[in-house]
């Protein structure tokens, strides 16, 4: 068992583009759930809309990069509005069920064989990342980031991904300390009180849903770019639940919470995988197969989500007074 290697892998997860995508999507959830009290269980759907919006406009319509990103963002805005119209007037658990159903509808539609020409059905789409990597200013070669060695593509996607995360954090931070953000927090605490002050609660909720959804769709793009492929199986409901775990780990009504939560989530997954596989390799654990070790990690995720919710719902950074629920 090579502890150095395990630690380096864990450090790699800290800055990996997948972590950036999770951080961004969880930040969107923070806007929804942490700041506005909207229980969106369809963030995986927003990510799928972003990823497919980008991939389809690139592949089917040959759109250049900015247009493709714009299409992805617009698609998620439309998705948020379509979702929000019937549900934002209803109680939290209705919104949860509708958003999770909508996300599954998206996944079924991109999986269906009838649309193979456009969506690639279960195999998904590939080879749409050319436009992004052609903008890469780094010349081919090996770059060292701390103990990690990576090629110019890895470096480029990490820089872009984390820049987007930082910008999004700034935007959310500024929004939430603005008067608009204060109204939003007011809605979270007591919707009727805010309504009695003459605010249009419905419109505020809709705006929050759109903003968080756009963050989710950007996260979808960042998630697919390093893979060079988008596949429907990646956008199942589990993704949303993992994002909630990240959000609750870090603290749901904070800006940096989701980012730190995503980092902890992936570092812990990487460490446990490294340690378990290492222990199996040297024969210290004989009662587990490698795939069982993989499942053990996700059992831990589920248990962690339960324990967090019961014992520390405010997360690592959060303030117990700022919870979306009593």
């Amino acid at each position: 068992m090579d502890f150095g290697n395990i630690l380096i892998n864990a450090f790699g997860e800290l800055i990996s583009p997948t972590t950036a995508a999770y951080a961004l999507a969880a930040l969107g959830l923070a806007v929804h759930f942490g700041y506005s009290g909207l229980l969106n269980f369809g963030q995986a759907g927003f990510m799928a809309v972003g990823a497919y919006g980008y991939a389809i406009s690139t592949l089917t319509f040959n759109a250049p990069l900015p247009v493709a990103v714009l299409v992805a963002i617009l698609a998620s805005v439309v998705f948020a509005i379509v979702l929000g119209i019937p549900t934002l007037r209803l109680r939290a658990d209705y919104l949860a069920i509708v958003t999770i159903a909508a996300a599954e509808i998206i996944r079924y539609i991109v999986t269906t064989n009838g649309l193979t020409d456009v969506t690639g059905s279960a195999n998904g789409l590939a080879a749409f990342e050319g436009g992004f990597f052609s903008l890469n200013p780094f010349s081919p070669g090996t770059y060292n980031v701390g103990p990690l060695a990576m090629n110019e593509r890895d470096l480029w996607i990490r820089i872009v991904g984390w820049t987007v995360v930082i910008v999004a954090c700034l935007v959310v931070w500024l929004l939430m300390r603005s008067p608009w953000g204060r109204v939003l927090k007011g809605i979270r605490e007591d919707e009727n009180a805010v309504r009695s002050l003459g605010k249009n609660v419905y419109a505020y909720k809709m705006q929050a849903l759109v903003i968080g959804g756009v963050l989710g769709s950007l996260a979808g793009i960042i998630f697919t770019l390093p893979r060079g492929a988008v596949q429907p199986a990646n956008y199942a409901t589990e993704l949303t639940f993992f994002l909630y775990t990240c959000l609750l780990l870090g603290g749901m009504a904070t800006v940096l919470g989701p980012v730190i939560g995503a980092m902890i989530f992936w570092v812990v997954l990487s460490l446990t995988q490294g340690l378990l596989y290492g222990a199996i390799e040297i024969g210290a654990i004989t009662f587990l197969s490698n795939s069982q070790a993989g499942q053990l990690r996700y059992i831990l995720v589920g248990v962690a989500l339960m324990l967090l919710m019961v014992f520390r719902p405010q997360g690592v950074l959060g303030n117990k007074k700022e919870l979306a629920f009593a």
């Binding site: 019937p86 109680r91 069920i97 775990t245």
Partner: protein, 434 residues
């Protein structure tokens, strides 16, 4: 194995020769004008073929011609009605039947083009089907029959959904919890039944044990998790998220022991039973009857027994029920046990319906269960029943028009539409939607 393969290879030309005796007979007389069709077919890699079949069976000795791309080909259908014309290149050909060679009393069905154009679609063979007489168009069964068949299957599916949905709805009604781990309770039923059957127990005993196991899981869940959380005064939304964590943990625990593969319960293949013009597989019919009986029993318990009345009282207003001397915690415990048992039975039936047992099978219908519960009205037991049946019917009937891989989409769409127009559901009351 190799011998068998050889036999098939050797047998193939012989069979071909046998199917085209008229072609040979014809070519023998006209050997100078035209190449025999069977030779032609071997000469060219690409072929156009089809089978002529009338109401009474195959139609032999009919001349079919193909013209196009500067080529003329002709073939005669064999005793099994099959014909095949080899053509030099892929492309579009005009294929025609010589109607004069058709046997007496047989004519092309209405609307059948003759001649017609046949185009190769990047494969070395193209086929076209000529339909004869009126009755033969009913390759597809009449619409009403298809509808009745789908509706029966949908009813069976809806009732098995209702088993799980009634449990979910009871739990929601008495505790307010939207239980995302209900799908795993469904899975556990099927997995336990499979495990007991694999240990050599008869399937009926295995199913009963699985249902008992489901009830046990319900009991343990409430005793170990939900009751302490209620004591702490945990809110509904945190409880919902806890149930998601539980769902993830249970799903991967099941996968940990069961593996990722799909297994079959004993007797998963069953014969088709004809009921008049409608046919249904025996398993689906059994499932329909079993779930109907169980649901009637649950309905009877709820309406007529003391504990049933207490349950409805708690669902209506827990505080008032407690004040009038009902032990609310005991009622909730019983609801969890019954909910677990119903979900486990639903899981076994779902395993027969799909068919197959897998670690994520419950998750696949969780949203349909939610759709049924929401459609009928959150927290109302009979609403859950009605809603689930509607969802089941909708899922199965929509396959007449929708592709099979989209069949759940329709059900989820009605869920959203119902919330848009009647958020309290079909049997729900306005006050519940908050």
């Amino acid at each position: 194995m190799l011998g068998l393969l050889l036999l098939v290879l050797v047998g193939a030309p012989a069979a071909q020769a046998f199917t085209h005796p008229p072609a040979h007979a014809m070519s023998a007389t006209a050997v100078h004008q035209q190449t025999p069709t069977s030779v032609q077919a071997q000469e060219f890699d690409n072929r156009i073929s089809g089978v002529l079949r009338g109401v009474d069976g195959p139609i032999a000795d009919v001349t079919v011609t193909a013209t196009g791309n500067g080529f003329d080909g002709e073939a005669t259908s064999g005793p099994n009605g099959a014909w095949s014309i080899g053509v030099p290149e892929q492309g579009t050909y005009e294929v025609a039947i010589d109607e004069e060679t058709l046997p007496e009393g047989i004519a092309l069905a209405e609307g059948q083009e003759n001649p017609r154009e046949v185009t190769f679609a990047n494969t070395s063979s193209a086929s076209t089907l000529f339909l004869f007489g009126e009755g033969i168009v009913a390759q597809q069964t009449p619409f009403l029959e298809t509808l009745a068949e789908r509706a029966l299957a949908g009813f069976s599916f809806g009732l098995l959904l209702a088993l799980s949905a009634v449990g979910l709805s009871l739990i929601f009604g008495t505790t307010g919890l939207t239980n995302f781990a209900h799908g795993e309770m469904v899975t556990l039923g099927a997995v336990l039944a499979f495990a007991f059957a694999a240990m050599g127990l008869p399937i009926a005993v295995s199913i009963v044990l699985a249902v008992v196991g489901g009830g046990l899981l319900g009991y343990v869940q409430d005793a170990g998790l939900w009751k302490p959380l209620r004591r702490r005064g945990t809110g509904l939304v945190p409880m919902m998220i806890v149930s998601i964590g539980l769902a993830l943990a249970l799903r991967y625990i099941i996968q940990f022991f069961f593996g990722g593969a799909t297994q079959q319960l004993p007797g998963s293949q069953s014969p088709i039973i004809d009921l008049g013009s409608v046919s249904i597989s025996r398993n689906n019919l059994t499932s329909l009857v079993v779930s109907l009986v169980i649901i009637l029993v649950v309905a009877f318990l709820l309406l007529r027994t003391r504990i049933g009345k207490a349950t409805r009282a708690v669902a209506d207003n827990p505080a008032l029920a407690a004040a009038s001397g009902i032990d609310v915690d005991r009622v909730i415990r019983i609801v969890w046990v019954i909910g677990g048992m119903l979900a486990a039975l639903g899981g076994v039936l779902w395993a027969y319906y799909r068919p197959g047992v897998s670690y994520n099978m419950g998750q696949q219908i969780l949203l349909l269960i939610f759709a049924g519960v929401t459609l009928g009205g959150l927290g109302t037991v009979f609403g859950a029943l009605v809603g689930s049946i509607i969802v089941g019917l909708f899922v199965e009937i929509s396959t007449i028009w929708l592709e099979a891989d989209l069949k759940y989409v329709g059900a989820l769409l009605i869920l959203i539409l119902v919330l848009l127009f009647r958020p309290q559901g079909i049997l729900g009351r306005r006050e519940r939607i908050g």
